[in-house]
Symmetry: C2
Subunit: 367 residues, 2 copies
């Protein structure tokens, strides 16, 4: 048995945890840059955070200009604001985009590099201290060492990985999800599902990450099934957030697989939501695993208590009508995906032909 486990983030999970444990933020510094989008003002998270910071006597500056799929330019804008405000720590508040932007700001603020070197690795071990407060249930970024940014040179999204990107604290409260629109629940939930499934299907997975993944699936899959038949899930929001966090702890160990690598092109070129993009490719990936007799598939089926075919039906229902993407574009993505570092990490290691097949069958059922 060979195993590596590292997840240093201290987790506070539960109703009103920002108020209850906000005092712990004192340890991070004197002045916060709050990196967020627009919805944290509405869902109450920003209000709770500001009250906690005020109570601690900490000042703060709000950077709320993070859009989905953050760019290097957005990160630079954040760093400029951080410096002008003399902020010495960061709170990432929102979905994956604000949290990932927050991480990149925390890292590049202490060790800047030119745009062309942002994705070239060797990030060192320091970043500004961070706390994260997710307000969607999917990305798991609050417990991972990854920041995923738009990579315009390679025309995809690329992850920056460093242990320095683990937040010091994560505060998770399902109440922030209460008024989220349906798509803001379904697509992140599909992302979390993809994390748990890919964590199990990753060659870097191990006993501990698999346990986190299976636990995540046990909680998450029944909720996905409910969502697929539009049954109410307002009582499942905490469980959803919990499952997404467990899936985050999973990929913090295992990384993701070909599904994520392939999905990024769909997001970059067609603006398809990240969670949806993964899920669009996941069904055919599961079918490939079945065809190739990948034994790890059994773990997924056991945790979901359904067969891969049944899981595909649920995914199909949640995804609805698929995007029209011309065949030559899909073949183009397939050509580029062959070189993605995630391919070799996949226990189902798809051949170039299989990658093509996944893309085509995911959008044109007759190919």
């Amino acid at each position: 048995m060979d195993l590596h486990f590292h997840m240093p983030t201290e987790i506070f999970f539960g109703r009103d945890c920002v108020s209850a444990y906000g005092e712990r933020l004192k340890a991070l510094g004197h002045s916060a840059l709050i990196v967020t989008g627009k919805s944290s003002k509405i869902n109450g998270a920003l209000g709770d955070l500001c009250i906690a910071l005020d109570k601690n006597g900490q000042t703060y500056t709000v950077f709320d200009r993070v859009k989905p799929n953050p760019t290097i330019a957005c990160v630079r804008e954040g760093i400029a604001l951080l410096k002008s405000a003399n902020a010495d720590f960061i709170v990432g508040l929102g979905g994956g985009s604000p949290m990932d932007a927050a991480k990149a700001i925390a890292l590049l603020a202490v060790a800047d590099r030119a745009d062309e070197d942002v994705f070239s690795g060797g990030y060192g071990i320091y970043a500004l201290p961070m706390a994260h407060i997710p307000t969607t249930a999917g990305t798991g970024s609050e417990v991972t060492p990854y920041a995923i940014l738009t990579n315009d040179v390679q025309e995809t999204k690329t992850s920056i990985t460093s242990p320095a990107l683990f937040p010091k604290f994560a505060f998770l409260d399902g109440k922030y999800l209460k008024n989220a629109p349906r798509s803001t629940l379904i697509y992140p939930a599909l992302d979390a599902f993809s994390h748990a499934v890919e964590g199990i299907l990753s060659r870097k997975g191990n006993e501990i990450s698999n346990n986190f993944a299976c636990e995540s699936l046990k909680v998450l899959y029944p909720i996905l099934k409910k969502m697929s038949v539009t049954a109410p899930i307002e009582n499942d929001l905490d469980a959803l957030l919990y499952a997404s966090m467990l899936a985050g702890i999973t990929i913090a160990q295992s990384g993701t697989t070909a599904v994520h690598g392939m999905g990024y092109y769909l997001t970059y070129f067609y603006g398809i939501d990240h969670g949806r993009a993964n899920a669009l490719l996941l069904g055919e990936t599961l079918k490939l695993c079945k065809k190739k007799d990948v034994s790890l598939l059994g773990k997924i089926e056991d945790a979901c208590k359904e067969s891969a075919d049944e899981i595909c039906v649920v995914l199909d229902r949640l995804l609805g009508k698929r995007e029209d993407i011309p065949k030559d574009r899909l073949l183009d993505f397939a050509k580029h995906s062959v070189f993605n570092k995630n391919i070799k990490k996949s226990a189902y290691e798809p051949t170039p032909e299989e990658i093509k097949h996944i893309y085509l069958r995911s959008f044109c059922k007759n190919d």
Copy 2:
């Protein structure tokens, strides 16, 4: 759902992990104090560590005078050696005693306090950086924020708790257990079992700690059963070490319960091995849980795939003949245990009468 999770130690588990990942020790400092007992020279762990430190260009001083149930005097001796050697980090190497002594040295070296204040809390957030290498499978100290020392004032053993006591790294390699005598396998294994069981029975346990505990029991209990009928377990040593680590991660969240609180008196006054002491009291505790219909007992039985009564039979077999302890001494321990802080943390919160009953029935079956 309310949940707190924190376990920042980076874990390297597997054959020859000290050689494979020893380079990571570079991050800890220039000169190590290696805190250990006598057996690490024999089981190969000290040799592996010294080779890794030499390769890193790090110097080291060996403090091998740690005896079972370390005292404050032993910790002071270690601090003196650390200072005279100008060591700036610590490696705890061995069973629970060297690892716990190492932690206390790491903490008190940066913030000394008088003997009478050692257990009085408020330890601050700093300690010298540490790596731990367990060579027994039981204590889980490599992944906990606890150091347990002999407390001569209160005539028991008492834990020092601080997040600063989480080692930075833990290296776990089952090969160091290979030539351990039977008692050095059974008693620590019983300690780990007690950790997993008590973690589930603790009021501070949560979903994540329970998952770690159940996983630990699933791996550990079948090995305990083998040991109870003296079946060979040389192929189970890695699994044993893994289960003990999982149980450690459990109690890092949940703490222990009345069993540990009560067991310390047996160790302090009768020199009974710590793991054995817990196990001596565990059977009657499980029976009490059954009587009081503590629902968490079901989790333990499910994970072990046996009933509490069957578990007790296995414990009895492993423990063999119990110590002769006069009834008045047991009543004395019961009187003191009533005030132990662990009592209230136990989901089975034993009444003073029940504490008395556990002590008496554990040693005099007719009482």
